[in-house]
C-alpha cells in the first residue's frame, strides 16, 4: 500500500470539504471490502482515505419515515439481512444481501458501497432498481436525491460528481400489493461473483419490473405494462417470448472467465422465468 493520510471527519460537511479539496486523490472508506484490495494492489494510490464511519448520521441505521425506508451509508449487508422491516417490505433485497460474499464480507460490506463501487455484478443493484430506490447524495451544493437507475452508470462509474458522497439509500414502501424475488447464477455455492443477477417484481395492476445485471456494463431495469407477465393465469410457456424481449440490452462479455455469453443468455431466460414465478407467488400471498 502506498502512504496516505487518514481522515476521520465527524460531519458530512467535513467529508464533502475533503472530497472537494482532493478530488480524485481522495477515496472514501466505508466497509473497505473493495477499497482495501485496491489499495494493496496499488490499483488506486490516493493521497487521503476518508473514513465515513465516525460521522453520526452515517452510522448504521435502518429507519422508516413517511412510508420510506432509509438505509444509512455505513449499514452493512448483515444489518440489512437481519432487519425485520427490510424482511417484511423488501424480501428481494434481503435475498441479495445474504449472498454477497461470505459471512465475513457481509459483516463489513455496505449497501451504499455496493452501488458506489459500480460493479456490473453488484448483487443489490437489481433489487434496488425493482424497488425504485433513491440514492441520497450530499455535496457542495447541499443534498440531492437521484433514482438508482440514474445513479448507476457503468463499470466503476456512478453519477456522483466532485465533492459528492452517498449518505443513504431510500426505498419507498410499496403501498399496494407487490411481490418480488431475487435470484442469481454462480459457478458454485458459497463465495462467488455472480454470472447473472436478476430481480423481478409484480403488482396487481399488471406491471412487471425486471432488472438484470452481470450481462453488460451495468444492471438494467425493464418495465412491462402489457399485463401478460404479471397475469398469474397466463402460462409460463406463453411468457417466454415477452420475457425474452426484456433482455434486449444483455451483452455479456466474451472475455469473462465466469461464463460464456451463450450460457449467460440461455440462463437469463431461465432465471427470469423463475424469478417471475416466485414474485407472482409472493404477490398472491400478499393478497390473502
Amino acid at each position: 500500500m502506498n502512504r496516505f493520510q487518514y481522515a476521520r471527519p465527524e460531519t458530512v460537511a467535513e467529508a464533502v470539504a475533503l472530497l472537494e479539496e482532493y478530488g480524485d486523490d481522495a477515496r472514501l472508506l466505508a466497509g473497505g471490502t473493495d477499497l482495501v484490495i485496491e489499495l494493496r494492489n496499488r490499483w488506486v494510490e490516493p493521497k487521503v482515505v476518508i473514513d465515513l464511519k465516525h460521522i453520526p448520521e452515517l452510522t448504521p441505521s435502518i429507519t422508516v419515515r413517511d412510508d420510506v425506508l432509509s438505509i444509512s451509508a455505513s449499514t452493512v449487508m448483515t444489518d440489512i439481512a437481519e432487519d425485520e422491516l427490510v424482511q417484511r417490505h423488501f424480501p428481494a433485497l434481503v435475498e441479495a444481501a445474504v449472498v454477497v460474499g461470505s459471512v465475513q464480507i457481509r459483516a463489513r460490506a455496505t449497501l451504499a458501497g455496493n452501488i458506489c463501487n459500480g460493479s456490473p455484478a453488484a448483487d443489490t443493484s437489481p433489487p434496488l432498481l425493482v424497488y425504485d430506490a433513491v440514492v441520497v447524495i450530499a455535496g457542495p451544493e447541499g443534498t440531492r436525491r437521484t433514482p438508482v437507475d440514474d445513479f448507476i452508470v457503468g463499470p466503476g462509474k456512478t453519477s456522483l460528481g466532485r465533492g459528492e458522497l452517498v449518505t443513504a439509500v431510500e426505498l419507498p414502501i410499496p403501498q399496494r400489493p407487490f411481490g418480488a424475488a431475487y435470484t442469481r447464477l454462480t459457478r458454485r455455492r458459497g463465495t462467488d461473483l455472480a454470472s447473472i443477477t436478476l430481480c423481478c417484481g409484480v403488482d396487481t395492476d399488471g406491471h412487471t419490473r425486471l432488472a438484470y445485471g452481470s450481462v453488460g456494463p451495468r444492471a438494467f431495469l425493464e418495465i412491462d405494462d402489457t399485463g401478460t407477465l404479471a397475469d398469474p393465469s397466463v402460462s409460463i410457456e406463453e411468457k417466454v417470448a415477452p420475457l425474452d424481449q426484456l433482455f434486449h440490452r444483455a451483452s455479456p462479455s466474451p472475455k469473462s472467465l465466469r461464463a460464456s455469453p451463450d450460457y449467460r443468455l440461455a440462463m437469463l431466460r431461465v432465471l427470469g422465468a423463475r424469478a417471475l414465478e416466485t414474485a407472482l407467488g409472493r404477490l398472491t400471498k400478499e393478497q390473502v
Binding site: M1, N2, R3, F4, Q5, Y6, A7, R8, L29, G32, T33, V36, I37, L39, R40, V48, V49, D51, K53, T78, G101, S102, V103, Q104, I105, A107, R108, R189, G190, T191
Partner: protein, 158 residues
C-alpha cells in the same frame, strides 16, 4: 489527518493503546505489532478467511480492514479462545475430529465457527456450511471441520 494514529482497542480481553501506521491492515498489525501470529495471511482479497477475527461479535477478514478501523472495538483472535491455558470446547472438538490437516486455515475456521455458534448454538449441517463458506481449506477437510463444529455445539449444550 494522520499517517500514524494511536488507537484504543481491546484484544482478547486486554485493553491496548497502539500506535499504528494508517496504511497498515489489521492483519499486519496483529501479526507484526501485537505479535499474535495465530491469525494467518493467505489470499489477502477476502476469499479464503484464514485471517478471520471477531470484531464486536461479528467475524471479519482482518486483511480487508485498516488497523485504524478497530479503534474503540473489541477484537478476538484465535489466541483468545483458550480458557485458562486449556483448549475450549470448539478447539478440543477440532482436535477430536481430526479437523486439522495442514492446519493453516484452522484459526480462521475456528473464528467463523465461534461466531456462528454464538448466534446459533444448535446449527444444522447447512447452517454450518453457510457459516463457514468464507473459509477455504485447501486440504479439503470440510467434512471433519463440519463434524467438529456440530460436535462442539452438542457438547456445549449438554
Amino acid at each position: 489527518m494522520n499517517e500514524t494514529l494511536t488507537i484504543n482497542t481491546t484484544i482478547n480481553g486486554r485493553s491496548r493503546s497502539i500506535e499504528v501506521e494508517v496504511n497498515h491492515t489489521l492483519l499486519d498489525v496483529l501479526r507484526d505489532e501485537v505479535d499474535l501470529t495465530g491469525t494467518k495471511e493467505c489470499c489477502v482479497v477476502g476469499e479464503c478467511g484464514a485471517c478471520t477475527v471477531i470484531i464486536d461479535g461479528r467475524p471479519m477478514n482482518s486483511c480487508l480492514m485498516l488497523a485504524v478501523e478497530i479503534d474503540g472495538s473489541e477484537v478476538t483472535t484465535v489466541e483468545g479462545l483458550e480458557i485458562h491455558g486449556e483448549l475450549n470446547v470448539l478447539q478440543a472438538s477440532f482436535l477430536d475430529e481430526s479437523a486439522a490437516q495442514c492446519g493453516f486455515c484452522i484459526p480462521g475456521q475456528l473464528m467463523s465457527a465461534t461466531a456462528l455458534l454464538h448466534d446459533n448454538p444448535d446449527p444444522t449441517v447447512e447452517q454450518v456450511q453457510e457459516g463457514l463458506a468464507g473459509n477455504l481449506c485447501r486440504c479439503a477437510g470440510y467434512e471433519q471441520i463440519t463434524k467438529a463444529v456440530l460436535a462442539a455445539a452438542k457438547e456445549a449444550m449438554r
